[in-house]
């Protein structure tokens, strides 16, 4: 009887957005009289930081600071339609809609500034600090504050824009399954190292090393939040979680957080994360959806590491100590 160490690898990809498309999202953007920008959506923030990343996308596109952008969302009386927050679609679908709306608003803003500066709108650029100036002549400039005031009170123009993003729905060909499930995919490769106690069946995750390719990390700190939490959930799925531990029998079904098992703060694995960025052609500034993909590769990597450690295959999730012990018992019986 001993503690045995093993190592396993898994590599995966994950589609961005609803399978087969057909999942639109809209955005509206307008400026306040003093040059702040309001993004109106009906999308839901589940805690992943959707509001923050939309503010950064809008700010980037218009050429203002992120703190000047306010997100008004999740209200069906004010916000235009969004299919919903799922299928790793938030950043990609809604982000693209926000870019389109913000571009239209920026164009109006530049036209107003052009009138003030008596130049062509095409000759103007933003400095990202709240000013618009003539390309190559930064002294010829007007603030966005003054531009918005002028639009409102002198020119009677609305600095606003409409955005819509839709990947057209694909219908699978009946006999062959020819279809277009997604326009871009995130990728991952995970190496897991475990210690397995062949007397108790207990698994200790020694280390998890994740490499994720996510298109573009629009806010790296929030990306890290998703990836760290997702990696934890992958470990949890692999080794702990189920509502029905003896599926298909319904006995011992967990009904609360005492009975439904997940790793607590004392059970977390040393985790390393590396992010690669290959921008998606149709992603907002290249971004793909990382939120779901990041919880998948740990599961098979751990299953493979457990095999590497003790030589038994557990082909049923979750890989509990009980299942490992039963498999080890069978292995010993066959060996004799």
């Amino acid at each position: 009887m001993a503690i045995r160490r093993g190592r396993g690898v898994a590599a995966v990809n994950y589609p961005t957005g609803m399978n087969l498309g057909g999942d639109p999202s809209q955005a509206l953007v307008h400026s306040t009289p003093t040059g702040n920008f309001m993004v109106t959506l009906s999308s839901v923030d589940l805690g992943q930081g959707l509001k923050q990343v939309m503010a950064q996308i809008c700010a980037e596109t218009i050429g203002v600071k992120t703190e000047q952008v306010i997100i008004d969302t999740a209200d069906t009386d004010t916000g235009p339609h969004c299919m919903g927050t799922f299928a790793s679609r938030g950043t990609h679908r809604i982000g693209n809609a926000v870019i389109q709306a913000a571009k239209e608003a920026r164009q109006v803003m530049l036209e107003v500034a052009a009138e003030a500066l008596e130049v062509d709108a095409g000759d103007l650029e933003t400095d990202g600090e709240g000013n618009i100036h003539v390309k190559g002549a930064p002294q010829k400039s007007i603030s966005i504050f003054d531009t918005a005031l002028m639009a409102h009170f002198k020119l009677g123009r609305s600095i606003s824009g409409r955005g819509m993003f839709l990947v057209p729905r694909s219908y699978p060909e009946v006999e062959t399954g020819a279809m277009k499930p997604s326009t871009c995919y995130a990728h991952a490769c995970t190496v897991a190292e475990v210690d397995v106690d062949d007397e108790t069946g207990e698994v200790t995750v020694v280390s998890i090393k994740n490499v994720f390719e996510i298109g573009r990390a629009l806010n790296p700190k929030m990306v890290e939040q998703q990836l760290v939490g997702g990696s934890w959930m992958g470990i949890s799925h692999a080794l702990y979680e189920t509502t029905e531990p003896y599926y298909p029998a319904r006995d011992h079904a967990g009904t609360d957080f005492n009975e439904y098992l997940m790793p607590g703060p004392g059970d977390i694995a040393p985790t390393e994360i590396v992010v690669l960025e290959r921008p998606a052609e149709d992603g907002p500034y290249g971004a793909k959806g990382p939120g779901e993909m990041c919880a998948n590769p740990q599961i098979p990597a751990l299953a493979n590491a457990i095999f590497d450690a003790v030589g038994v295959r557990i082909d049923m999730m979750p890989i509990t100590p009980e299942r490992i012990l039963r498999a080890l018992k069978e292995q010993r019986a066959t060996a004799h």
């Binding site: 396993g8 690898v9 898994a10 590599a11 995966v12 990809n13 994950y14 589609p15 087969l20 999308s43 839901v44 589940l46 805690g47 509001k51 950064q56 703190e67 999740a74 209200d75 069906t76 009386d77 969004c82 919903g84 927050t85 799922f86 299928a87 699978p172 399954g177 020819a178 499930p181 871009c184 995919y185 991952a188 490769c189 190496v191 090393k209 490499v211 390719e213 573009r216 806010n219 790296p220 700190k221 890290e224 189920t242 029905e244 599926y247 319904r250 009904t255 994360i273 590396v274 992010v275 690669l276 960025e277 290959r278 290249g286 998948n296 599961i299 299953a303 493979n304 049923m316 999730m317």
Partner: protein, 454 residues
Amino acid sequence: MKLAKDYFADQRTEELKELGQGLQRSDVPGHVTGKTSYFADRTFPGMLCLRMVRSPHHHARIRSVDLSEAERHPGVHRILTHKDIPHNLYTILILIQVGPEDEHVLAEDKVRWKGEAVVAVLADSEWAANEAAAKVRIDYEVLPSVLDIDAALAPDAPIVNEHHGQNHYMYDSGPSRKVRYGDVEKGFAEADHILEQTYYSSPIEQAPMETTGCIVTPDGNDRFTCYTNTQAMFFTLDNTSIILQMPGHKLHMVGGTVGGGFGGKVDVTVEPIAILAAKLTGRPVSFIYSRYEEMQVSSPRAAEKIVLKDGVMNDGHIVARQVWGYTDAGAYSRHSPYGAQKGAAHYPGPYTIPNVWVDTWCVYTNRTPSSAMRGFGVTIADFALEVQMDKLARLIGMDPLEFRFINAYRDGDMKAHRQPTTGAALIECMQEASRVASWPVAEKYMQMSSYKGG
């Protein structure tokens, strides 16, 4: 976390100012001060609490329902049954033309899973609602049930859901969503080795810290405001409109920050009945799942059974992959026909294989309806695929990581669903994994690239 900027540097040409920065989240000051508003952080005078009476049986005919004692319980305002629901038979994906309607908001003649809602009690406190719910008398005739995929697909199995007519979803392609590419039989005939293995998973709960729920107020102008933690505002509004036969302009959904979703809040199970209750009583109504309901009544991630059969050559190339994927949808469709179909699109994984044959099934059983969860249609598939990859590598005596390099998809490769690969990055992820995990592979694999011809 480390950003490995060396990879794909030639493709990142845009200069970003506000993006690419790890700016602080604008919502976090609210989180750390307890000021962030969640749907349940509001009270209204006269608010009623809704509590469901649920089936204790997997499958049963309802002979009779006796509300008399419950209705007399102090604090009870009204008890709703299926007769109160204008359009009681629904299915959520009808909005994207995935039918048929197969589920009752409140059970009529039968219950098809343990936990199915039969009667909704409205009382002026949670205690009164719970006590009254316990006084509802329902006479059931227990029917034979099927609780797993194989039993459900057996020829003489009892029918779980008459609206489907058989214990699986019927796609336009037949009982399964199919992918057919190349000729798997020819591939198996040529293969040096064939490996067929079966993988299983059990249901998994999304377990958000905030349970599913909503609070509804009648606005006094025949409109209703529903404070909800749904993951999809209009999806909920439009389904509610169908179920209540109420024009959409009478409905106002207000979300906010949701206390975690993970796919668990995409079903429309609380809003329609709570809005109806507010309409019929003229009072604000709250319907919030208990932790027990969140764990055992709300849709989990489906259990799956996946059979993989692969033909592999001694040089490491996979020449044929056949897949049978079965999703245990439980008693009703919810999002499962979509999830099973998403699985079909995902196989054979991020590998280029010349001969592929996939059948994915959405199977009905007398279990808690399953639905979406983080990685929907893919998570369990990846478990099966990647364990199978490990077994195949060992079968031919090859390093498992090098084996994946040999088969990894690259730009331009044709996928089984007949789309050319674009934007691939699997190879680079594996190269970086080889480096960070000190798992050396032959230099030729470190020289590979996901670019066309790389």
